[in-house]
Symmetry: D3
Subunit: 312 residues, 6 copies
């Protein structure tokens, strides 16, 4: 087994190899003056079971992933698993408007044509993205991590709020395990001033609220949701998401946000501060890698890890 | 242009060709004693733009579609469009449990390998299924038909209810055009008797309710939902769905159902009765076929048709 | 090694796993009310050498096979062999008429695109179907079983009759080992009443006759052939075929047929009675599976098995 | 439409373009000192409907065909049809022995990967070879030419003999139209000297005989068959085949052969003499090309041509 | 015909459409806060012959190209030509060291899998890159532009110098038309101080020199070459290259460079100043596009354009 | 591990298997009277790591290679490596003229579609041909063999001359290790008689010269180059190339050539005489095969072998 660390999240990758008690494969990745990426795997991977850890959260990272896969393929790796903690472009998973691309499928095709034999992801934006691939894909769920976190927080009167209609199903993952209620925000055209306004379906008054999504991007909408929910009389408000994109002014917005706490994971490199809690899930990915390598089931991982004392 | 009618819905196909003012292609489809399907296209389709109309609502229909595509390909059709009013197996669009197939993707691959050049569907169960294909796919939306229908019903205090979390987004399509509220049913484990019970998020008391889904299968859950909503004090309750699968005891269940009306379309062969309203959407499919053939946009179809006086 | 038993022939599959002294893989196969097949492999097959036993004698069985392959592929099986005792649609192996499909090739493509890595069949209708696949295919021949059977019958003056021109080559397999003569039936337009009449080339008077084909479907033609041959003065007449489709009224026709005995195998589920002899060839398939798994030759199987004392 | 003539049969190609009243495309084909083939299409074929006429009766011809296809593809031809009057390696269409290739399928794959969009052949050795391709293939039958020829010969008491079991079906094509009987030769191990001896099934005494096959290769077996049939008391014996391979000593063998006449076509370059009749079928191929180009049916060709006064 | 302009070189694209006297297709290209590219083609391209003009000189531009192709494919364009004035990553066209990728081939595969039907490039780094594609590729040569330029400069005693061994062949393109001599610089380990030093093969003393390459990247080596050649006694020194990458400190280096003049084209956006001459080749690309669209030869373009009065 | 020896170079293959201390796989290769190749692997290769040694220096050898690969694939080899000491058609690696094929890429596609999993070559004509494959390819360099050879010759004042512009880069491989100078021959149109004449760039007077190329084909140009260099006052002249094609009159030309010595390898069957030195590189290929089989690096081979005492 060889773990190749791309440059998208070196900290996470360092934790993964530490957990697996191996050294990462020696690789040279550099960017030329003209911005072309150059990759050379500096140790023999012929006949090896290669895992390439790289999120696809920027075009540079996508190309770097594809180039690393090509290098491993031509270096005769026996099997190449693309480990993609954050699968970018996932929101472009359908034609919502005419003549749009389906970029999430395009990326899937690129990864496959480059030579990956299998894929490992964490919390895909839509589960149907699994079907964009014809190679085996294991999608590891991060929500048990949040369940553990909020169980320790010991909150009563809990409501999990989806910030849009598409996320209600995801919210139910938490409500079931936390014995919480569910609510949903959607936009509705108000009658008097004819602009779209946030509306809630469900009740949050005097409740502790987790606004749960798969990712926090610019944090604009989710902070407005937090404010709206506070106005509706909620008690504590948590923002919770697996992928901390934190684009643009996100860090500042979160700082000034009405939410009491922001809980994310380290699938992407993230800053921590007194408001932002970053939960490490390297052991989750590392265990999945080990199970794949040893041909053991990945699907039982969640349960198994929740019971492990050292799994946090 | 040649329209080939499979056996899945001869009535719909007859309406489509009538609308297009052409004759369906002469085709022989028979089933041998051993249940093998035999197909022979009885007129020349060499260099023609061929549309094969066939829903994939049973394994026989799937095979028949694939065999017709193979026959058209080998007969040198210049382009083959699979027109699939109801795309079956669409609910198996992700691995929800370990070691499940993703049959909706498998079917997409089968259609492509058989030789289809493009696909036309109506109201795909999940929009991401578009991305299961690498050939162009046009998914025509049927909801404007329902908008027109319910506008004529002239209902006040309207709420559109999604029977599960996954359908809330679909429900918003109606609420926006009908100036309605949205609500959602989900299952929650009751505290005293520890079984899953229906719970509603949102308010239906004294409201007129449309329970809206993409398909009605055995009608079990949706009828329970209707009953539950009536118990909650709703006024009129409509069941509304594009695809009328009506499997097993569905017809009987719908007859005895607490809902006041069932509104579906004829993507699948359906019975009509005093309770079940079947809206014909052949003109929608026919217009999409004509536009594809003439290289005109399919995406503007909805708006265009809603404004057509004869579009009903 | 994992053996997955589809539902096409549970008895045969049971015999195969018994012979191999292993348990079949735990699998859930069910059909929903709307006739969609649902499959879930209930035990881990990651990295396993998986054999899926399923004949393709109906569209449901074909889809079930493809779905099982997809499930095994996505569950990361290391190799998937489709074991297809009876390969259906095999007679549609060429364009005999214009604008016909070549469904036997289509099925081959479907099996390949679903994810099978290799195929094992018994007595393919035409040996050229091997070339419809680009993945390795082992076709096991059942005729040594019939050679053994008829040697024990101890018949003198034996003639093997092919019921049509296409099967003469197959008949020679038997004649060589049984020291028999060959004859052939074909249809010829009679001069006086201008309809096609059976004609024989070769001599059957006072002979014991085996009418040999690869399959018995509705049994209509083969029973007429038996009658015709009896009229020509044959002694005993055996109907002999590998695949017992027995479609439509076949069982009744065989009962009333002039033939003395019907000898078939259990590639398909079959009834036995005093007239119909069903020879079990599970050990043939089981041995082929074992040899494939252990990377031993499959081609020497026939000879090897004929010499085995327990091979019957 | 552009016709590119390979070097396998320049005479035939000349006749084809003459029939079509067009000039062949200007092409440079040469062989370097090291035997590498060099091809350059010397006129623009961008967007053209290109037909490349080349039989695959030697490895050089196969490579030349593939290279011409590659050149046409890269020169942006809009459609490339490989016109292959004689499809070589066709007898290697199945694994008859373990670890044999299926070279006829390999060649099909080579032609497809090189970039052909469709294929036109004459009298494929086995009709199943059609299914080796996933691109459309039209196989034109030459037997009507022989029917016409033998009708003019005005022979009574006619028997068509297949020189082996595999060709009986082909023989029936002639018997039906010539109101002839059928017979078949096969090899049988003689009891006294234990070597394989020719045996006939059917009657040829005092008959006029056509020994009919798809090709004459070294002419060894077919001449022995002629001798055997003469010994059995036949009157006139004709050897008849579409493809005149005439390998090795074939010409001499045919000269000394007991057969009265040899009737072949010019799918391959052939010598004519007083014994060998070569029927030109360029108009058959030319008409098929024209029909393909004009999107007219190829399958009705036989009938159509038989009725044409100038079709001989 | 539709021309879609990517964002890699809007000025060039503007010139191309101006030359073609058409309007560019209406397209929305934006970058979200998280750096994901969003593309929507805002006008109907169904059945159109689409040309997408985009160089691949950064990872963002590559992804943008692929996404535009995907959008056009799913929007049912009849043919998609990727017009890539500068083909990036072209120098990574072989494994020079073990376990390197061949990124130039990877990019070719990405473009093909995204859905391009053909490719148009200008001065590919290595002509073999044509063979990385199986779709037709037209590579237009820019050197006639330089021939014209230097003919007007009217230089005597001209030598074209290749800055490395790999470029000598390219240099001969100019020498032939300019009646010049050729020389080559290579690196040689000096004996006394053991570092690699520039060495020239050929004579430049008292000559006018064109240092000719396909691209100027950081300009470091080429400026050292200019200095070295001046030291060797050259008269005027021109730097000449098709693709003006001008990475890093290139502009400054060129300003201080010993060369008298820098001559490049506008395949990439470039600054002009008193030292840097940028020759517009939009008419070359535009004419190639028009010829492709009209199925006329692209290969005769060079000659044809050199003779056109307005071609400059 | 199984080594299958094709017929292109039996001597070399014999040396390879001798070096590996194994027996070549038992294979039957014959050519029928009609020139079709027949192959049958006579021993079991199921699950084996198969290496097929065959140069592609004639169309017969190419077809034989493809057929052997097909046979091995259908016989269920676990991995097939095409070992191609001389990769023919390599000079047709780009479109130099319009409407040329890129035959080197075509051959790469043929090898891949036939079923090869990887390729091993020696001194590819252009390193970019590596990128014509998407399967892993190891190209072993032979130049260290020549370095060793010429070091022993102990020549002073050494110049390596490339016989054309394209080969200068290759020449530098030798100059670096032999501390030699480089020069290059190119063709230039002479001013007085207007024909192309050889011109040299660089100095060869009183030098020992190695004219170095990758292959010697008809030996015409290289012998003229030797003569020209002698006229320019060179001392000893060596012709040196990896691949000894020796087509047409090459042997005679070399005999009468002004060069003092010809040094080649045995990638192709070659005659040796007092002037022609043939260096055996079977151990190079054999070691590469062994390393591939044992998943060890092939790229370190050169260095490693140069240090081995027995490597010559």
């Amino acid at each position: 087994m060889k773990i190749i660390c791309g440059t998208s999240n070196p900290e996470l990758c360092k934790e993964i190899v530490k957990f697996l008690k191996i050294k990462p494969a020696d690789i040279l990745i550099k960017t030329f003056a003209d911005k072309e990426i150059y990759v050379r795997i500096k140790e023999d991977v012929r006949g090896k079971d290669v895992f390439i850890v790289q999120s696809t959260n920027s075009n540079d990272n996508i190309l770097e992933l594809l180039i690393m896969i090509d290098a491993a393929k031509r270096a005769s790796a026996s099997r190449i698993t693309a480990v993609i903690p954050y699968y970018g472009y996932a929101r472009q998973d359908r034609k919502a408007e005419p003549r749009e691309p389906i970029t999430a499928k395009l990326i899937a095709n690129l990864i496959t044509i480059a030579g990956a034999n299998r894929v490992l992801t964490v919390d895909l934006h839509a589960p149907q993205i699994q079907g964009f691939f014809d190679i085996p894909l294991d999608d590891v769920w991060a929500f048990p991590i949040f369940v553990k976190y909020f169980k320790k927080e010991n909150l009563d009167n809990l409501v999990v709020v989806s910030p849009d209609a598409g996320g209600v199903k995801r919210a139910l993952h938490l409500t079931k395990r936390l014995d919480a209620d569910v609510a949903m925000i959607h936009k509705k055209r108000s009658e008097h001033n004819k602009i779209d306004e946030m509306t809630i379906v469900g009740d949050v008054e005097n409740k502790n609220v987790i606004i749960y999504d798969d990712m926090i991007d610019t944090a604009g909408t989710i902070c407005k949701a937090a404010e709206y929910i506070k106005e509706l009389g909620a008690k504590k408000v948590f923002l919770c998401a697996t992928h901390a994109l934190f684009s643009g002014e996100a860090i500042n917005k979160l700082k000034e946000c009405k939410a009491d706490k922001v809980v994310v994971t380290n699938t992407l490199p993230s800053i921590k501060n007194e408001k932002i809690e970053v939960i490490d899930l390297s052991y989750l990915i590392a265990t999945a890698i080990r199970n794949i390598h040893e041909n053991r089931s990945v699907s039982t991982l969640d349960k198994q890890l929740l019971e492990q004392p050292n799994s946090e």
